[in-house]
């Protein structure tokens, strides 16, 4: 008897055989419908591979959409908040996109592969919205999620590891640049992008070449202490470097149920991604209005006293609750206790001081801690090597 219910099992990425082999502690999770490791061997050590050697993360489950056709640029300019025309060929741009109410649906990266050829890499699934937005435009939109395997190769020795693998002169690639190499009779695309805030690259190949890529990469990086890392380690790195995440730091706007729970780009600290000079894009009218009338909330990065992560904390100003924490972590490289918070306007100006109400448990004993915290000016971790070109060797 067949078991059609198996058709709904979590998918395996093209790297699964290699990932499973390396996943020493067998700790798996569900990421976007794929079975992916939460941790491979030790979360803290995995994290340090990102910050001191080379860390490798399988990002194949990321949603990838190809946008091609004469109207591709105009289409993306209508869809996204930033000016897509400024992204050159072989360049990558980070952006958000909004619904008509000016609320953020998701963030992602746009890769410009050619004159009228783009790839959108999004955290959330987006095909319905992308096709919805395509009405009236001469574009074709293809879901390439399953057609591309990808690895994030991040950390100070990442450039060296990849160069050793054969990506000659990779060190000349600028941040947010991309380049194509021949690889095993096919094309390999590499972009200087990532979600860790460090020197790092993302490498894209066909699923058929995935295992070969993994093998060659780990072989090449052996002497540069290359290690795989899972989603727990990535979470620490992204908080340390100030990256927000859909479904964690904001509710994807079209999935919101309770009125007022979605956030605008301004309210997420992403006003730099909004180009109101563009004559039309989804959410523009609402965002112009918000710009004129003021926002409801402000995104703040808080440096919290002490070493207890302010997870799910209330942020207090005297007796008044003025906000809540969406992400928090002790950041091992910055040696800081960082929290992302949504604060009610007009709170949250840089330098403002508040108190984080932290609850933590040790041996079944709950403690309430009132930790002073301060709004800081940007991410606590932002090393020069992240931007330096040519990239440093180690």
């Amino acid at each position: 008897m067949n078991l059609p219910s198996r058709a709904t099992m979590l998918l395996e990425t093209p790297f699964h055989s290699r990932v499973a082999e390396r996943c020493e502690i067998n700790d798996w999770g569900n990421w976007m419908g794929y079975t992916t490791p939460n941790a491979f061997f030790d979360v803290e050590l995995e994290y340090f591979s990102i910050r001191s050697t080379t860390g490798v993360f399988d990002l194949s489950p990321m949603n990838k959409y190809r946008i091609q056709g004469p109207d591709a640029e105009a289409y993306l300019n209508r869809m996204a908040t930033r000016n897509i025309s400024k992204i050159g060929i072989n360049r990558v741009g980070y952006t958000v996109w909004c619904n008509d109410a000016g609320m953020v649906m998701d963030d992602g990266t746009i890769f410009r592969l050619g004159e009228s050829d783009y790839r959108l890499c999004s955290y959330q699934r987006a095909i319905d919205w992308l096709l919805w937005c395509a009405m009236g435009f001469d574009v074709t939109i293809t879901d390439e999620t399953e057609d591309l395997a990808a690895l994030a190769v991040q950390g100070p020795t990442s450039c060296t590891s990849l160069t050793e693998m054969g990506l000659t002169d990779l060190n000349t690639l600028k941040p947010f640049g991309m380049r194509t190499y021949d690889f095993e009779g096919e094309k390999l695309m590499v972009s200087r992008t990532g979600f860790t805030g460090d020197l790092g690259y993302e490498v894209w190949v066909s699923p058929e070449k995935a295992e070969t890529l993994w093998d060659q990469l780990f072989d090449a990086g052996k002497e540069y202490l290359i290690k795989p890392f899972g989603s727990y380690a990535l979470d620490i790195a992204r908080i340390e470097t100030g990256f927000i995440q859909a479904g964690v730091d904001f509710v994807p706007a079209e999935e919101m149920v309770r009125p007022g729970r979605a956030r605008s780009p301004f309210e997420l600290g992403l006003s730099w991604l909004v180009d109101l000079e563009k004559p039309l894009f989804n959410g523009r009218t609402a965002l112009l209005k918000e710009k004129a009338n003021g926002s409801r909330y402000r995104f703040a990065i808080l440096n919290v006293d002490g070493n207890k992560p302010a997870e799910h904390s209330f942020i207090m100003k005297g007796d008044r609750q003025i906000g809540t924490v969406t992400s928090a972590a002790w950041c091992p490289t910055a040696k800081s206790n960082i929290a992302f918070a949504q604060l009610e306007m007009p709170e949250g100006a840089i330098g403002s001081e508040y108190v984080a109400e932290i609850y933590y448990q040790r041996e079944l004993h709950w403690t309430r801690l009132l930790a002073p915290c301060k709004v800081i000016d940007g991410p606590i971790f932002n090393p020069k090597r992240r931007r330096k070109t040519p990239a440093i060797p180690h």
Partner: protein
């Protein structure tokens, strides 16, 4: 002596709930039931030795948890077990499965259409917004929009606030939901036939409308607003069949000192000087009480067991105009083993849920065409369950019980009563459809009970066999249910009340109408309220 504080006519789940809350408040209450057994359409009976048939209502979600908890129904033997599956079997041999797990459900839908699976996120959010709007009002009396009483005004204000909170887009959505057809509504989200058809079924069940008839989107919502253990939209089985719900409420009622009298066929609600004095049975017996509550539908209440001369002419006319058309039939089948559908392993978790064979909206609409032509659907929409996959008490070990709800079947065939041949033809149509997808099905049938709307009307008393005690269209909901001016459970005669599904918030085994009516009666009697308030959704 036959003297009571209150008499409830009809031992359906709402009548029993109403009686339980009145008894809990210290009233001497009798429930009079025409049949030799209780439950009304919330009933399970052993019609084939060893098999229990929930031969009317067959699944449970809408039963208000506030009532179940307050009347201690679990202690009185009620256990509601969620079922986690469901499927629509397709003509091409494939199927669309339904999974309780959201991510898994996404992956199953994505097998058919990635776009639709993605759109399902938006659909879920939009539908959830609507259920959140309605749910807080289930355990409340609908306010009279024309009244200037402080209570009505304050309740209206709550309604208005809830609406305004939805924002402009939410409001537009609400209007759409209450007026649109389920076909149009789903068409705004989905492109795949089988996905739309699977969901659209909830919009036509028990309703004399088609998937493209305005108003059916609300019927879908009505099926989504219940919950099992807080999982909104989830459905379950009452262990022992739906009769277990009525039995548990009856036990609660009796624990408060209440009395249930079966084989008591009420002929008339007695009225003297504009007030009720009690009821007279067909056998001549009289039961006296200053409060008489009818669990019967509005037509039976006002046109059958009340004398038109005792009522305002407008009420008689409104009762006559009340829309309560029969549109569904049912087959209850004892099976020798498990049927296999489209090669799908019968032990697959999908099989534990609601199973269907209509894989397109067009087939569903055509099924409705037959109803309009006064015959049963030749390719009907079936809502089929095998409760014995979840509940071991329904059939002997290794054997199974199947409940097949059939949409559509009219009250009359070509304007005349159903004949034995009609009924046999109806039964054959349904069994043939199932057999198309399950070659071994016919050989497994040990016994089959087939019920037409006429049978349901004759046995349960629901006019035309309408399962909701009146259609769930906007003109018959909230302060218009059953009719304007009488939506607060009070009848046109002092001491006379209504507590059936013909009142707010409508049909389904919800028990809210019965409880809400009890609250109004106790208010009129200046007695402390025994009815719990509704849980708030966070």
């Amino acid at each position: 002596m036959n003297n009571y504080d209150a008499i409830v006519i009809g031992a359906g789940h709402n009548g029993l709930t109403n009686a339980a809350y009145l008894a809990k408040a210290g009233l001497k209450v009798a429930v009079l039931e025409r049949n030799p057994y209780i439950g009304g359409a919330t009933v399970s009976r052993e019609l084939h030795k060893g098999w229990y048939y929930s031969n009317c209502s067959y699944v449970c979600s809408l039963l208000r948890p506030e009532i179940a908890r307050d009347l201690e129904l679990p202690r009185h033997g009620l256990q509601v077990v969620p079922f986690g599956g469901g499927a629509t079997f397709m003509r091409n041999g494939d199927h669309l499965g339904n999974y309780h797990d959201h991510d898994r459900h996404y992956r199953e839908m994505a097998r058919h259409s990635k776009r639709d699976a993605n759109a399902y996120e938006r659909y879920t959010a939009d539908v959830t917004k609507q259920t959140r709007l309605i749910r807080p009002f289930l355990m409340r009396t609908p306010p009279d929009p024309t009244s200037m009483k402080p209570r009505d005004l304050s309740d209206l204000l709550d309604f208005a606030k809830a609406f305004l909170n939805m924002g402009e887009a939410g409001l537009a959505d609400t209007i759409a939901f209450w007026t649109k057809s389920v076909g149009d509504y789903l068409g705004e989200y989905f492109e795949t036939d089988v996905i739309k058809a699977h969901m659209a079924g909830s919009g036509i069940i028990g309703t004399a409308l088609g998937v493209y008839s305005p108003g059916t989107a609300y019927v879908l919502l009505h099926h989504y607003m219940g919950d099992v253990d807080g999982n909104v939209g989830s459905w379950g089985f009452a262990r022992g069949g739906m009769g277990a719900v009525a039995d548990a409420i009856a036990k609660a009622f009796k624990s408060y000192g209440g009395e249930i009298i079966c084989d008591a066929d009420v002929d008339q609600i007695m009225v003297r000087g504009g007030k009720t004095t009690g009821v007279a049975l067909r056998n001549g017996d009289e039961y006296l009480a200053p409060i008489v509550v009818s669990n019967l539908d509005p037509k039976r209440t006002f046109l059958d067991i009340m004398d038109a001369k005792d009522l305002p002419a407008a009420v008689v006319k409104k009762a006559e105009n009340f829309k309560i058309r029969g549109s569904s039939g049912k087959l209850n089948i004892a099976l020798d083993g498990l049927p296999i559908f489209n090669g799908l392993d019968a032990k697959n978790p999908m099989m534990a849920g609601d199973l269907h064979f209509s894989d397109s909206l067009e087939r569903q609409e055509r099924a409705y065409d037959d109803w309009k032509s006064e015959t049963w659907s030749k390719d009907p929409y079936l809502d089929m369950m095998i409760p014995s996959l979840t509940d071991p008490t329904m059939a002997p070990p290794g054997k199974h019980m199947m409940s097949v709800f059939v949409q559509y079947a009219p009250l009359k065939i070509d304007g005349r009563d159903w004949t034995a041949e009609d009924k046999a033809g109806f039964e054959k149509t349904v069994i043939d459809q199932i057999s198309t997808y399950s070659p071994n099905f016919k050989d497994l049938i040990l016994h089959c009970e087939t019920r037409t709307p006429q049978d349901i009307e004759a046995e349960v008393g629901l006019t035309e066999g309408n399962i909701f005690q009146g259609e769930l269209t906007f003109d018959q909901l909230l302060f218009n249910r059953p009719f304007p001016g009488y939506a607060q459970y009070r009848g046109p005669v002092t001491g006379m009340y209504m507590c059936g599904s013909g009142t707010h918030p409508g049909g389904g085994v919800m028990a809210a109408p019965g409880a809400n009516a009890a609250r109004e009666i106790l208010r009129d009697l200046n007695k402390p309220n025994t009815v719990p308030g509704g849980y708030a959704d966070d």
